[in-house]
């Protein structure tokens, strides 16, 4: 099966997801992160698949490493690696597994899977870029609402707010997976972050939220994807 990547829009990812999952009936709507990751790579991130390690690129760190189908489908669609990689997910010689590994996949900024590591790494990346005078790149970190249960996130949220790390954007996918629900935006705004809450299916609204940061504060986008995925 050859996927067409000439189509515009997120629909072109459907055949890629079917290749990854081996499920002919796999629906885009099953992937909680698909809208956010698509809009980031299609409209927001300044990254170049021909130069995935360019100093001045934006950084997108997937902290919520579980279920990376949408992430891999988008990276393949955008040309970071061959589409054929999608056909052997978690195989013996496959660079793609059920959690992403930065040492194996071009364009993947961090290896993740154990929850609660990406935001701290993202704070470090943001500080490292600034210390080297790279003031233009933004650092985006993708989290899940359940992942926010992990305490390590709260060390990063409190510090980034206090230090005013304004090149940092956290994105929380809210699929109602946390056992004890909390005010997701409030967890950040109490530490002086700015926040946007959006429904993830509206891509224009999502893009505005992802660009909604202001000077002097880190920004969080809470993307409501509904409770069934």
């Amino acid at each position: 099966m050859t996927a067409s990547i000439q189509q515009s829009g997120v629909d072109q990812l459907a055949p890629l997801l079917r290749r990854l999952t081996g499920d002919e009936k796999h629906e885009l709507s099953a992937e909680s992160t698909i809208d956010v990751i698509w809009v980031l790579y299609d409209r927001v991130l300044r990254v170049d698949p021909a130069r995935p390690e360019a100093d001045g690129r934006d950084r997108f760190l997937v902290s919520k490493g579980h279920g990376p189908h949408a992430y891999f489908a988008v990276l393949a669609a955008k040309g970071f690696f061959p589409l054929s990689w999608l056909d052997d997910l978690a195989g013996r010689a496959s660079p793609l597994g059920h959690h992403p590994d930065r040492t194996l996949v071009p364009g993947v900024e961090i290896g993740s899977g154990s929850l609660g590591h990406g935001l701290g790494l993202g704070v470090g990346v943001a500080l490292g870029l600034r210390a080297q005078g790279l003031l233009d790149p933004r650092v985006y970190v993708l989290l899940g609402d359940g992942e926010l249960d992990e305490g390590a996130n709260h060390e990063a949220i409190a510090y980034a707010g206090a230090a005013g790390i304004d090149s940092l954007t956290a994105i929380v996918i809210d699929n109602r997976s946390a056992t004890h629900r909390q005010d997701l935006a409030g967890v950040f705004t109490v530490h002086d972050w700015s926040a946007s809450s959006v429904a993830s299916h509206d891509h224009d609204e999502l893009e505005r939220a992802l660009r909604g940061h202001t000077a002097g504060r880190p920004h969080v986008v809470v993307a409501d994807v509904g409770g069934d995925r």
Binding site: R102, G124, G128
Partner: protein, 293 residues
């Protein structure tokens, strides 16, 4: 040793733009002058050790060389998974510098002890471990570590030997015994009590401030056959036994591994008291070595 660490790191910050320091409040006041000159490269995240290591991993991913510093129990024990995933798994390097090793913080009690730090790092991938025995050894080890890209642990202590020894990663012969002498290897600050323990005994003494990678070739060159080897380590007893056993797999040998015991004594007192309670004072070492012979 902590003073030498701060001086050397401050100088590195002034002259090497790749160097960065990540703190979690411990020793932050001593780094205040450096922080004032290099606010972007001296980062104090507050009392947040998980974030301290995560930030170091992120800094390394952008090409900087982070020096991470805290009390040993907070820099190793508490953040084991951050060391494993934010550094090792990302293939990111860092220089991890601890104070308060083993029972240096004796008056603070067990919550501030970390005898298992080197054993924990041994479960990770390719860490270099330096255990300086004297303040004069700190600067060279630290500058060497900062000049590399690996993951290095520098274990600073308030215990130290009378004299510094050069450290090039190899076992250094300190005292040569007879042809059939026992080989005793002292790591870092254990050399001083050892030298006060062996009067009149026929032993060969070797020293290292770099137990990882352990100088296995040097060990094989120093032993006779059959081999009698005693390890004297300032951290958990037996931490290096596995490596000595591997190095001598084809040599008939006996091994005595001395170090800090596993028991939680629930006691305060001084570091000298704890050394005695763990049998690491000269009398205790002499007793153990004599029994072994």
């Amino acid at each position: 040793m902590r003073g030498r660490f701060v001086e050397t790191t401050t100088d590195l910050l002034d002259h090497d733009p790749r160097t960065a320091v990540v703190l979690a409040d411990i020793t932050a006041a001593a780094f205040a002058p450096a922080a004032a000159r290099h606010p972007d490269r001296v980062v104090n995240v507050g009392i947040r050790e998980q974030l301290m290591v995560g930030v170091a991993g992120g800094l390394a991913l952008t090409g900087l060389r982070p020096i991470v510093h805290s009390y040993a129990t907070f820099a190793c024990d508490r953040v084991y998974e951050q060391l494993k995933l934010d550094l090792d798994h990302q293939d990111a390097g860092a220089v991890l510098v601890s104070v308060g090793a083993s029972y240096d913080g004796s008056e603070y009690g067990r919550t501030h002890f970390s005898p298992a730090d080197v054993a924990l790092l041994d479960t990770l991938v390719d860490w270099t471990v330096h255990v300086p025995g004297h303040p004069d050894e700190v600067e060279r080890l630290l500058r060497g570590a900062v000049g590399r890209d690996d993951r290095t642990y520098l274990r600073l202590s308030t215990q130290h030997n009378d004299l510094p020894h050069a450290g090039d990663g190899r076992l250094r012969l300190v005292h040569r015994g007879g042809d059939r002498a026992l080989l005793v290897i002292a790591v870092g600050p254990m050399l001083n009590p050892l030298l006060h323990a062996i009067g009149g005994l026929d032993v060969t003494v070797a020293y290292t401030n770099t137990p990882r990678p352990f100088d296995l070739a040097g060990l094989r060159a120093l032993v006779s056959e059959p081999a009698d080897v005693v390890l004297v380590e300032p951290y958990l007893a037996g931490t290096s036994s596995r490596l000595v056993a591997d190095a001598l797999a084809h040599v008939p040998h006996r091994l005595l591994a001395l170090g800090v015991g596993r028991v939680d004594l629930h006691r305060y007192g001084s570091p000298a008291d704890h050394a005695r309670w763990h049998g690491l004072d000269p009398a205790g070492l002499r007793r153990a070595i004599t029994d072994f012979v």
